[in-house]
Amino acid sequence: MARHKKIQTEAQEDPEMNISSMIDCCFLLLIYFLVATSLVSEKKLDISIPASTQSASSQKPPVDPGRILLRADGSATWNGDMTVAEVYNPDAKPGTSEYRSQRELEQLVEQLKNYKDLASSVQAEPVVMLTGAPTAPHQRIVDIMAALAEAGIKSVGISTADPDAN
């Protein structure tokens, strides 16, 4: 009787699976992904380059593309005559009004929105040509791209001519 009972209790305990190694693995993976996932996630700005076939076609676009000229000092003009960005100051402190006015190119956004409305009134896709000086800082380009994104323009042609050269 006693022997029979002992065998039965052993048989009841045996089916338990040892999951400690699985927990170890699981924790290891958890720590890996915790470290690999950076806390400050990068954001993005989308643009697309107009296909080269567009410029090759003989048909004239219904509206002229908007032109943004970026100089080496970070100042920018819209359609050749209107200054839309001041000289870039890389030392402006975040949070100050100077920083905000430097980065938020309100005048440019307004012009771009007007241009987009003009293009959509004739059912044309708004296209902007961006000409940047080779030595202009990348930050300024991103500021302009942000203004384009705010205005909802995605098609941006990139010209390599130097606006300071002439």
């Binding site: 009972k5 209790t9 999951i19 699985m22 927990i23 699981c26 924790f27 993976l29 958890l30 992904f33 915790l34 690999a36 996932t37 950076s38 400050v40 996630s41 990068e42 954001k43 993005k44 700005l45 989308d46 643009i47 697309s48 380059i49 296909a51 080269s52 970026l70 890389p90 975040p94 949070g95 980065r103 938020e104 940047g132 000086a133 080779p134 030595t135 202009a136 800082p137 990348h138 930050q139 300024r140 380009i141 991103v142 500021d143 791209m145 942000a146 203004a147 994104a149 705010e150 990139i158 390599t160």
Partner: protein, 173 residues
Amino acid sequence: MAKKNARANDEVNGNVNLSPMIDCCFLLLIFFVVNATQITVAKDPSVKMPSAVSCSDLKDANGCIVVNVFSDVEKMPPEALKKYNKAYPANTLWGVADANGKTIGYTEGQVQDLTDFIKKQKESLKGKGMEDGKIRLYLRGDMAAPWERSSTAIRCAAAAGVTNIVFGTLPSK
């Protein structure tokens, strides 16, 4: 007989019930697996990202060909210089990571090599069934890098047939 039974019960109660902890653990694991984007490997920590006023979240990193654009090494701040990959050749302007996670640095004279790399990446993405429109150039330019370098990378991408460009930024403070 009854005593024996009670002892057996005690032994069973002594075990800690691990299943809720495992549940939680798995939940966290799945959360981080989903959040970790594939482009983590190609992100170069020495690139000081520019900030943008209006930018959106990068929801899908699939189809992104990452190109890091560096500023001049001598102008890099000390904390960025510490993270700079010393394996890159001198005067590296563009840094990429291939499919195996191996980093490659390209200098000014290797523009054609960069174009070939983007072309190769594009072909391999296409081979995996990625649509043409979803293949994008993810440009991680340093905020102080001259525009010439970024525009050259964009031109390389255009030559390789990638016309969608994504500018990597940080949210503005």
